[in-house]
Homo-oligomer: 178 residues x 2
DNA sequence: TCTTGTTATGCAAAGAGTTTCATATTAACC
DNA sequence: GGTTAATATGAAACTCTTTGCATAACAAGA
């Protein structure tokens, strides 16, 4: 049930199409949620059917038309009610760590390569979050003020990636000594 | 496809029943994977049908009988082949951070309570990982040596929870000042 | 004109995970 | 004898997510 509220939250901040939403998921909330375009469209249809979203078709010049979704009164009420409820605990599922857990089946060389790959991925994530952070810091102070709690989630993402990178670097050094 | 390899990995380290496995998931790998008992039993049946697991019934005194599963040669080969393949990137899905992202719908008091709740959960996780770590450090050095990469995953879990706790504490202080 | 890339939307099937229900053995306690 | 709790296993229905397929408007370049 969380995807729907992620969608409502983003559309509450600013209305948009499924396509927009997909890109905003990648740009602004990838540090705590991900969803494919099929999930977006299905969820948008459902929310529209349930009367939580309005939809208006918007013709475009030089591009295909889009459907712009925005929250209805009921949509805002549903979001408001949900944010005040306790959330289910996160379920972590990290395939790479299963592999390391089965690391006695890896040679040192294989382990090194796998950790190196992860290190690069997490460095890239950290880099992208730091860029997002720069964009936020350069935006309108009134907007920053209004969405300061949203910004805190990005700061957690940054700290989490720093932790990951530091851990992977330490592990690589240890693998290199062997 | 990752659950099956998590199951194979644990049974490769030590054979056991579905019930054992459930507890071992909670005790030893909860920092990177979680699964319900229904998932265990279903996966065990599938892996047995596919010939990756052997199964022997073991009568018990004072308790219901259990089915002990262990890897077949093909099971070991499948695990060995998988650990060497690149893993799909983790998909983070953290409902609490959606709520914070929609934090403009919360009063400071509501936000404080929600963050406080998360802080307590993550402190409890940190505590339990630190206890696991103590158990590992007191175990047979030869076993520690063999599974040292598995132990590294726990150290990452500990660092990640420390990061979370520190972030939540900082956020709470900021909320208290308002 | 044809191909490639971006924008934009969607269906259908399969796979993974959750929730609810059900059963049975044994120990411990009242 | 009846209740509660831990151990032990499983089916069925449902929801959520992924994967593969499909369509179409338009721009840019070969």
């Amino acid at each position: 049930m969380s995807l729907r509220y992620a969608v409502l939250t983003l559309l509450d901040i600013e209305p948009g199409s499924g396509y927009d939403l997909k890109r905003r998921f990648e740009r602004s909330v990838s540090h705590f949620w991900s969803a494919s375009h099929q999930q977006m469209y299905r969820e948008l249809h459902k929310l529209h059917d349930e009367g939580l979203l309005d939809c208006t078709e918007q013709p475009q010049e030089g591009k295909p038309d889009k459907k712009i979704y925005s929250l209805t009164e009921r949509g805002r009420a549903a979001l408001q009610a949900w944010v005040q409820q306790p959330t289910p605990a996160q379920k972590i599922r990290e395939p790479f760590l299963i592999q390391l857990f089965a690391g006695h089946h890896l040679t040192d060389e294989q382990a090194r390569a796998a950790v190196q790959r992860q290190l690069e991925e997490h460095r890239a994530l950290l880099h992208s979050y730091l860029e997002q952070n720069e964009r936020v810091l350069q935006s309108d102070p009134a907007v920053q003020e209004r969405y300061w709690l949203a910004h805190q989630t990005l700061l957690l993402g940054i700290e989490a990636e720093k932790t990951w990178v530091a851990w992977a670097e330490r592990l690589l050094r240890r693998l290199d000594q062997q």
